[in-house]
C-alpha cells in the first residue's frame, strides 16, 4: 500500500469530520477498554506475567540468532522449510514461487500483519493468483479495497450498514432483496460464501503469533476458526512471520498467551490457539502437504542494540491503540500505513522512514496510557520522543518550529532570564486579558487560538507562587 503518513494532519482532519467514522469509533472505545479491565481484574498474577513475558522476549532478543537457527533446524527435522527474507520483495517472491510451483490459482489467507506490511495481496493479484481474506474484518475491507484500520479489528472503522452495502455490491449471486440488517445475518452470509472458498483454495497463508524454537512450530491465535480452515484444507501452509516472533519454548508462549487475549479483546483465552508443526504426517488423513515459514527481517535486525530494540517485544495485541486518545479521535486510516496508533508511531518510521512518517511520533499527547496498558511494558512514549529527537537532528521538522524550539532551549538553559521574561509575559498578558479572561487571537499562536480560546493568566507565574508558598511553609 502507498503510505500517506506524510499527510497525517489532513487525514486526521478528514477523520474528525466524518460522522460515520466517529460513530464507529465511539462503539470501539467503550468495548475494548471495559473488557480488558474486567479480564485483568480476574487474574491476580497478571502483573507477574507481564514481568515474565518481558523477560522472555528480552532474553530471546539477546540470543535471537541462536533461537532462529534452533527453530529452523526443528522445522527442517519435521519436513518443513524456513525461507529467510531480508526485504518485502524477497518475501513476496518466495510466496509467489511456492504458489506457482503448486499451480495455485486461489489462496486463502488468515489475518497477517506481515502480509499487509509486504503488500502481498496486490502482488499476488498482479501475478494472476486470487488471494481471499478469510478473517471477517479482513474480508470486508478486501471487498472495499481498503487497508485495515486496526491491527486486530481491521474493519472497526465501519458500521453495519456499510458492511451490508459492501456485501450487496460484492455477492451478486445472492438475492438482491435479501435482508441484511444485523451483524448475525452478515456473519452468516460471509460464512456461507467463504466456506466454499476454503474448500476450493490451493494454498493457505497465515501469520504467526509465535514461532517455537523448541519444536519448530508456529502458533496462531484466532476467534473465528478461519486460520485453521486456511491451513488445514490446502496443499501447502505458508506461515508469514517476522524475526522477533520466535520464543524459546511452549511454556514461554503460554506465558505470553495469558497476556495476549486479555490485553487485546478482554477474553481470558482466544477461541482457537493452534500449534502447527511441519506438514501432515504420512499416516494423517488431512492437513497441508507442505509447510513453509517465510521469515521476514525488513529492518528488524538493525533495530537490535538501538533505542528501539524494546519495540521488538510487541505482540500486536492492540491495547495501545484501544487506549490511545489520538487513535480514538481519528481512527487508524489517518496514520497512513499498516500499523496505526502508538505502536505504529514507533514502528512505522523504522519501516518506511522518518521522512515519510515523521508526523506519527508527534501525534501523541504523551499521556502515557499506551505504556501503562502494554502487556510487554514497551516504553512507547520514550521511543516516540527518540523519533522526535531524530527528526529534529535531521532537520526534518518545519523551520519556524525549529527556530521556536531553539529559542525556548536558549531561555530554558538560563533560568534567571527565563523567569524574568515569563514573569513579564504573564503580567502583561494578565493585564491585557483581565476584562475578557481569555484571548480569541494571539500573535504567533493561531494554531492554538483558531480552534479554542487561550485563557488569560491570573497575573503571576506558577513558579513565583510556588516560591512564595515554600517561604510560607518554612516560617
Amino acid at each position: 500500500m502507498r503510505a500517506t503518513s506524510h499527510a497525517f494532519k489532513a487525514n486526521a482532519h478528514e477523520a474528525l469530520v466524518d460522522a460515520t467514522l466517529q460513530r464507529a469509533l465511539g462503539v470501539m472505545k467503550s468495548g475494548f477498554q471495559v473488557r480488558r479491565a474486567e479480564a485483568i481484574a480476574k487474574l491476580p498474577e497478571f502483573e507477574a506475567l507481564r514481568e515474565a513475558g518481558k523477560a522472555i522476549k528480552n532474553h530471546t532478543l539477546e540470543n535471537l540468532d541462536f533461537y532462529l537457527e534452533a527453530f529452523e533446524a526443528k522445522v527442517a527435522a519435521r519436513g518443513g522449510q524456513v525461507h529467510w527474507c531480508r526485504t518485502p520483495a524477497e518475501a513476496r517472491d518466495k510466496v509467489l514461487g511456492i504458489c506457482q510451483r503448486l499451480g495455485a490459482r486461489t489462496v486463502t489467507k488468515g489475518k497477517s500483519m506481515i502480509a499487509e506490511e509486504i503488500a502481498l495481496n496486490d502482488f499476488l493479484e498482479a501475478n494472476q493468483i486470487v488471494p481471499v481474506e478469510t478473517d471477517l474484518g479482513e474480508y470486508i475491507i478486501q471487498l472495499r479495497h481498503e487497508p485495515p484500520s486496526h491491527i486486530i479489528a481491521p474493519a472497526v472503522h465501519l458500521v453495519k450498514e456499510q458492511v451490508a452495502d459492501t456485501f450487496r455490491a460484492s455477492h451478486k449471486q445472492l438475492d438482491p432483496a435479501r435482508p441484511l440488517a444485523d451483524a448475525r445475518t452478515l456473519c452468516d452470509e460471509a460464512r456461507g460464501v467463504l466456506r466454499q472458498k476454503f474448500l476450493r483454495a490451493d494454498v493457505g497463508i497465515t501469520g504467526a503469533n509465535f514461532l517455537i524454537a523448541e519444536t519448530g512450530s508456529s502458533v496462531i491465535v484466532t476467534n473465528e476458526g478461519n486460520g485453521d480452515l486456511t491451513q488445514t484444507l490446502t496443499k501447502a501452509h505458508i506461515v508469514l512471520a517476522s524475526l522477533e516472533k520466535v520464543v524459546p519454548t511452549l511454556e514461554d508462549a503460554a506465558t505470553i498467551l495469558r497476556l495476549l487475549a486479555r490485553s487485546a479483546t478482554g477474553q481470558e483465552f482466544s477461541t482457537y490457539t493452534t500449534v502447527s508443526t511441519g506438514p501432515r504426517r504420512p499416516e494423517d488423513t488431512d492437513g497441508p502437504g507442505e509447510y513453509h515459514v517465510v521469515l521476514l527481517d525488513n529492518g528488524r535486525s538493525a533495530m537490535l542494540g538501538t533505542e528501539f530494540q524494546d519495540m521488538l517485544r510487541c505482540i500486536r495485541c492492540a491495547a495501545c491503540l484501544n487506549h490511545c486518545p489520538v487513535y480514538a479521535a481519528v481512527g487508524g486510516h489517518a496514520y497512513g500505513w499498516v500499523y496505526p496508533g502508538p505502536m505504529g508511531s514507533v514502528l512505522t518510521p523504522t519501516l518506511i522512514g522518518i521522512e515519510e512518517a515523521g508526523h506519527l511520533p508527534n501525534a501523541s499527547t504523551f499521556c502515557g496510557r499506551c505504556e501503562s496498558v502494554c502487556p510487554m511494558k514497551i516504553p512507547l512514549p520514550k521511543m516516540m520522543r527518540h523519533w522526535r529527537e531524530r527528526e529534529f537532528e535531521q532537520k526534518l521538522s518545519p523551520a519556524p518550529y525549529r527556530a521556536g524550539l531553539s529559542l525556548w532551549a536558549f531561555l530554558a538553559r538560563r533560568p534567571a532570564l527565563y523567569h524574568a521574561l515569563t514573569g513579564i509575559a504573564t503580567r502583561v498578558l494578565g493585564a491585557v486579558g483581565r476584562r475578557r479572561g481569555r484571548f480569541r487571537t494571539l500573535p504567533l499562536a493561531s494554531g492554538w487560538t483558531n480552534v479554542r480560546d487561550m485563557p488569560a493568566p491570573e497575573g503571576r507565574s506558577f513558579q513565583s507562587l510556588w516560591a512564595e508558598r515554600q517561604r510560607g511553609a518554612q516560617r
Binding site: 474493519a155 476458526g225 527481517d297
Partner: protein
C-alpha cells in the same frame, strides 16, 4: 537463500555487537530449551484439588458459551448424544472421527443414530470427536491431529461434540504440554508434537462488525462437551 540467511544472522550479530554465540553459551541455551522450565502459573486452577479443577473447567467452558453434559460412564455417551440432537432439533446423523476411544462406546444401543466414521466434509451438520485434555484455567479443550483425529472435524461441522473423561482435566496449558511430551516419548522415543494441536475455548466467534460478539464465525456454531465422570 543461504545468502539471505547469512546476511540476516550477520546483521543480528552486528547489532548485538558480538559474533556467533560461543559453544559454551549455545549449550547453556540448548539446556534451557531441553528443560522448558515453567514461568508464572496462575493459582486459579493450579491451587485446586482434582475435583475442584473439574468444576472450574466446566464453569470456565460454560462461561465462553460451550455447553457441558456430565454422564456417569462411557456407556451413557450415546444417550447423551441423542439427547443433544433431540434438544437442538437436529437430524440423527453425525460424523465421528475414527478414534478407538469412541469406538469402544455402545453406539448400537442407539440404532437411530446414523454414524459415519471418518473425515468431516462440507455439509456435515454434527460431528463428534474425542480430545486429549481439558485445561481448567480457561475451560480449554486440547485436540491433537492424527490418523484417528483429522483436524478438519474440529472445524467443519456446525455442532462439535467432544467426549472427554474427567481424568483428562488438567490445571494449566503447561500440564497439557507435559502430557503431549510424555505421549510422544512413549510412542517415538522423542518429542515430536502432533502436526496440529488445537486449543479450543468455546465455539467459534467474531466481533468484527461493530464489536458485537456473534457465535459461529467460520468454525462450529456450538461446542458441546460430554464429560464422563468415571476415572
Amino acid at each position: 537463500m543461504t545468502n539471505g540467511r547469512e546476511q540476516i544472522l550477520g546483521s543480528i550479530r552486528k547489532s548485538l555487537k558480538r559474533g556467533p554465540v560461543t559453544e559454551a553459551r549455545a549449550s547453556e541455551l540448548r539446556a534451557k530449551l531441553e528443560a522448558h522450565r515453567r514461568n508464572v502459573i496462575p493459582q486459579r486452577a493450579a491451587g485446586l484439588d482434582p475435583a475442584a479443577q473439574v468444576e472450574l473447567f466446566i464453569r470456565m467452558a460454560e462461561g465462553v458459551q460451550a455447553s457441558v453434559a456430565r454422564v456417569k460412564s462411557a456407556a451413557e455417551v450415546p444417550g447423551a448424544v441423542a439427547d443433544y440432537l433431540a434438544e437442538k432439533n437436529l437430524p440423527s446423523k453425525l460424523v465421528m472421527t475414527p478414534d478407538p476411544r469412541l469406538d469402544g462406546m455402545p453406539w448400537a444401543d442407539r440404532p437411530l443414530l446414523e454414524i459415519r466414521r471418518g473425515r468431516a466434509e462440507d455439509g456435515d451438520l454434527t460431528g463428534i470427536t474425542a480430545c486429549g485434555a481439558g485445561v481448567a484455567e480457561t475451560g480449554t479443550l486440547v485436540l491433537t491431529s492424527g490418523p484417528e483425529s483429522p483436524t478438519r472435524n474440529n472445524f467443519l461441522p456446525d455442532h462439535h461434540l467432544v467426549v472427554m473423561r474427567r481424568d483428562q482435566v488438567v490445571a494449566s496449558y503447561e500440564d497439557a504440554f507435559d502430557r503431549l511430551r510424555a505421549r510422544s516419548k512413549e510412542t517415538s522415543g522423542e518429542w515430536i508434537p502432533p502436526r496440529t494441536v488445537n486449543f479450543i475455548t468455546g465455539p467459534s466467534r467474531t466481533a468484527d462488525i461493530e464489536q458485537k460478539i456473534e457465535l459461529g464465525a467460520h468454525g462450529p456454531r456450538r461446542l458441546h462437551i460430554i464429560l464422563i465422570d468415571e476415572a
